[in-house]
């Protein structure tokens, strides 16, 4: 015993410690995240080698050995060892515009340009929300007029000839335009004090969420005409669109309900105290705040709605996927389906990623606003 030190405190004479290494720069990053220990370093090295070999193979297939242009029905592709992107060069008009009359395809191109342009303008948030939404409504209406024709000297084109990216955009626009109001109604109804209304909304939401979208689309496409009088024929595109709208609304309704539940009770009570009626309270007090909360979550549903437009290809409509399938029926090009679908994959990836990034930026904005408020 007896050897215990008097104090455990650090003696005054201990040498000063070195400052921590600069945590910035490539070397510091590599040390902290790739080569923490010899074992981790070896692992990183091996994994990196595998990744590089894989990337090299992909690069060789997709760029170095690829054929970009192959006249004479793809003769050059037969002997190539790489990808045959010539199939895209040959078929891009069909993939992007479907069976739309060839000399009228500029209309489809114009629609795509308008959508992209307004999307870019909206993303900057220079304009107010009202202006942006009104703009989207106008863009949607203009797209339908432009694609359908029959006005301002444009040749009339039936919906059976609509196809490609313009059709995909219109299906998507219609789903959101019709689905969001329905979703809000369903969400309000689910929280209603009237038992019949509540029951109806719950049954609709849960029933629709329990069955596949494809089943709903088949209901709309095959059964709806049976239940309508024969003189009332509804276009196949519109019938399928009804299925899409109901499906989107059932999912979005749950998101909106989340926003409604997140609203402090006091807001509604204060509005009641002011003597506002039910619909006025909803329109002016509850919904504006509830919807602002749920916009980021709604974006997930909106992106899914965009991805779900591909389901129309199963109904025999020519959205981008359906048009690509049709384009690849050509016996000269049928062997290059992988390249064709990779192109569609990339197209959707770019659009969905852009929407997802935009949704994320709204979420960050929301959080910033909340932090300032508290």
């Amino acid at each position: 015993m007896g050897t215990l030190p008097r104090s455990f405190a650090r003696p005054a004479s201990s040498p000063p410690r070195r400052p921590p290494a600069d945590a910035r720069g490539v070397r510091a990053f590599a040390q902290a995240h790739l080569f923490q220990s010899p074992l981790a370093g070896l692992f990183t090295f091996l994994l990196g080698a595998v990744v590089i070999v894989a990337l090299w193979h992909i690069l060789r297939w997709s760029v170095v050995d690829a054929v970009w242009y192959a006249p004479d029905n793809g003769a050059a592709c037969r002997t190539a060892t790489g990808a045959c992107w010539a199939v895209i060069v040959e078929k891009y008009r069909v993939i992007l515009f479907g069976a739309y009359p060839y000399d009228q395809q500029w209309r489809g191109g114009l629609i795509v340009a308008i959508w992209l342009a307004w999307g870019a303008v909206s993303a900057t948030r220079l304009l107010g929300v009202g202006t942006r939404l009104t703009g989207w409504a106008l863009v949607f209406a203009a797209s339908i007029l432009l694609l359908g024709g029959g006005v301002a000297g444009l040749e009339r084109v039936g919906t059976d000839l609509w196809g490609g990216l313009p059709l995909t955009f219109i299906i998507f626009g219609g789903t959101i335009a019709g689905g969001l109001p329905l979703a809000i109604l369903l969400a309000i109804g689910r929280r209603s004090e009237l038992p019949v209304v509540r029951l109806l909304c719950v049954a609709t939401i849960e029933g629709v969420r329990g069955i596949p979208l494809l089943a709903l689309l088949f209901f709309a496409a095959l059964i709806l005409p049976l239940f309508l009088p024969p003189q009332l024929t509804v276009d196949k595109l519109i019938r399928a669109e009804i299925g899409m709208i109901i499906f989107f609304a059932a999912y979005a309704a749950e998101v909106v309900r989340g926003g409604l539940q997140a609203m402090p009770e006091g807001q509604d009570e204060a509005a009641k105290a002011l003597g506002l009626g039910y619909w006025l309270r909803m329109r002016k007090i509850i919904l504006p705040q509830a919807l602002a909360i749920v916009v980021p979550a709604l974006f997930n549903d909106i992106i899914r709605a965009f991805k779900n437009t591909t389901f129309f290809s199963i109904l025999g409509l020519f959205d981008v996927l359906g048009a690509t399938k049709a384009a690849l029926q050509d016996p000269n090009w049928v062997r290059y389906g992988t390249e064709g679908y990779l192109f569609v994959f990339l197209l959707y990836f770019i659009i969905c990623s852009a929407m997802s990034l935009y949704g994320g930026s709204i979420e960050r904005d929301n959080q910033r606003r909340v932090r300032r408020a508290t």
Binding site: F29, H33, L34, Q36, A40, F43, T44, L47, G48, V51, E193, L194, P195, V196, V197, L200, G207, R209, G210, I211, P212, L213, L214, A215, F218, F219, L222, I223, P225, L226, F227, L228, P229, P230, I303, K307, N308, T309, T310, F311, S313, I314, L321, K325, L328, R335, G337, T338, G340, Y341, L342, V344, F345, Y348, F349, C352, S353, S356
Partner: protein, 394 residues
């Protein structure tokens, strides 16, 4: 003291301004309107069916169905009843969903952990996977896989994987146990063993908590409980050992088992897509664990494995289970996309059945009801599991 004025009697509210009366009237009107709509729709349908000379009813279910169906988990012989056809479809849907859920869960959990890895390369690869598979339509992925497999070279120029498995335009040919039934039985027994082992671990844990002393050889017993049923079944069946390895003879393979391109397309399409979503759910769950918990675990010197097993995962599960169940439901419902590649699931068999029988309404309603029941079953199962993982707080 001021005099209290006599309470004024509120003027009687006229009945049409009474909110309770209003509520009843509005709801009655709504019900009447819906009833009128339903009657109108049904009258139209009756008329339409009569005009086409179609009958309705469920009697057709027992008529023979004269169509062929591709091979999958269950096989349908033309000439069996429509009911049998739908049952085969249901079986295929359930089996396909089960294997896809299993694959998606394992892959998704691995990716979720990988995204939080301290190694930037692993985290980056996992992020790239998630972004690529989440931001593209599932149907495009399914169609892509189908086209990929059907465009592979024929068996004679197939891609060989270690000379054990072969990928060709016939699909993926893999080694398979010679006695498939025994193998399936063993898999079932293994699942039973896993369930028993879970119960045993729960009991052992309770004993340890109560007495402060663990049972002796608890890990070893747990392993035995896990493996014994499968081992017993194997021995009881005469311990068959043979594996049949595929071999190219002439234009096709002999031996092994071949997974058809249709199955591979829908299986990859379902599993890989949902795995990306599960990865995000798992990552979100792990991130949601309070940083103080991790610091505390580090302070008492838990190893990194124990930190995950004992501190992070149990708390993350509370956040993970509900959205995970939603993904399982989504996977089940999207298994209907099998129709796009001709995989004989419930949806595509229903689609064929309604064409052949002409009973569009009946077949679609049965199919929708079955999907609804399956979705509800997953939801109910998730609720039970959820109750187990909830940690009572105070």
């Amino acid at each position: 003291m001021s005099r209290i004025s006599p309470t004024r009697v509120a003027p009687a509210v006229p009945p049409w301004r009474n909110p309770r009366v209003q509520a009843i009237v509005w709801q009655a009107l709504l019900v009447l309107a819906l009833l009128a709509l339903a009657v109108w729709l049904v009258t139209n349908a009756r008329q339409a069916l009569d005009e086409r000379g179609m009958t309705s009813g469920l009697g057709f279910l027992f008529d023979p169905a004269q169509f062929a169906v591709g091979e999958a988990f269950f096989v349908f012989k033309p000439g069996s009843t429509y009911l049998a056809a739908l049952a085969v479809g249901l079986g295929n849907t359930v089996m396909l969903s089960l294997v896809s859920i299993l694959t998606a869960t394992v892959l998704g959990a691995a990716l979720g952990f990988a995204r939080l890895s301290r190694n930037a390369l692993i985290a980056g690869l996992a992020k790239a996977y998630v972004e690529a598979f989440r931001n593209t339509p599932q149907l495009v992925q399914i169609v892509f896989w189908y086209s990929f497999f059907t465009l592979l070279p024929g068996p004679r120029q197939s891609w060989s994987i270690l000379d054990l498995a072969f990928a060709s335009n016939r699909g993926l040919t893999v080694p398979a146990p010679e006695n498939g039934d025994v193998f399936l039985l063993m898999l079932g027994m293994l699942a039973l063993g896993a369930l028993l082992a879970l119960v045993f671990a729960h009991l052992a844990d309770r004993h340890r908590r109560r007495t402060g002393r663990p049972w002796r050889l608890v890990r070893l017993t747990e392993l035995a409980v896990l493996l014994l049923p499968a081992l017993g079944a194997w021995l009881a069946c005469g311990a068959p050992l043979g594996w049949s390895v595929p071999e190219l003879r002439g234009f096709n393979y002999v031996g092994g088992a071949t997974l058809a391109p249709e199955f591979l397309a829908i299986y990859f399409g379902l599993s890989f897509y949902i795995a990306a979503f599960i990865a995000e759910i798992v990552r979100g769950g792990l991130v949601s664990v309070d940083a103080g918990q991790i610091e505390a675990a580090n302070a008492i010197g838990l190893s990194r494995g124990d930190l995950y097993r004992k501190v992070m995962v149990p708390q993350a599960l509370r956040v993970i289970i509900p959205p995970l169940a939603a993904q399982y439901v989504s996977l089940l419902k999207n298994s209907s996309l099998g129709v796009a590649v001709g995989y004989p699931d419930l949806f595509s068999i229903s689609n064929t059945a309604l064409t052949y029988s002409g009973r569009t309404i009946e077949v679609l309603c049965i199919m929708a009801a079955v999907y609804l029941l399956l979705s509800l079953a997953i939801g109910a199962a998730a609720n039970v599991v959820n109750r187990f993982v909830q940690i009572p707080e105070r």
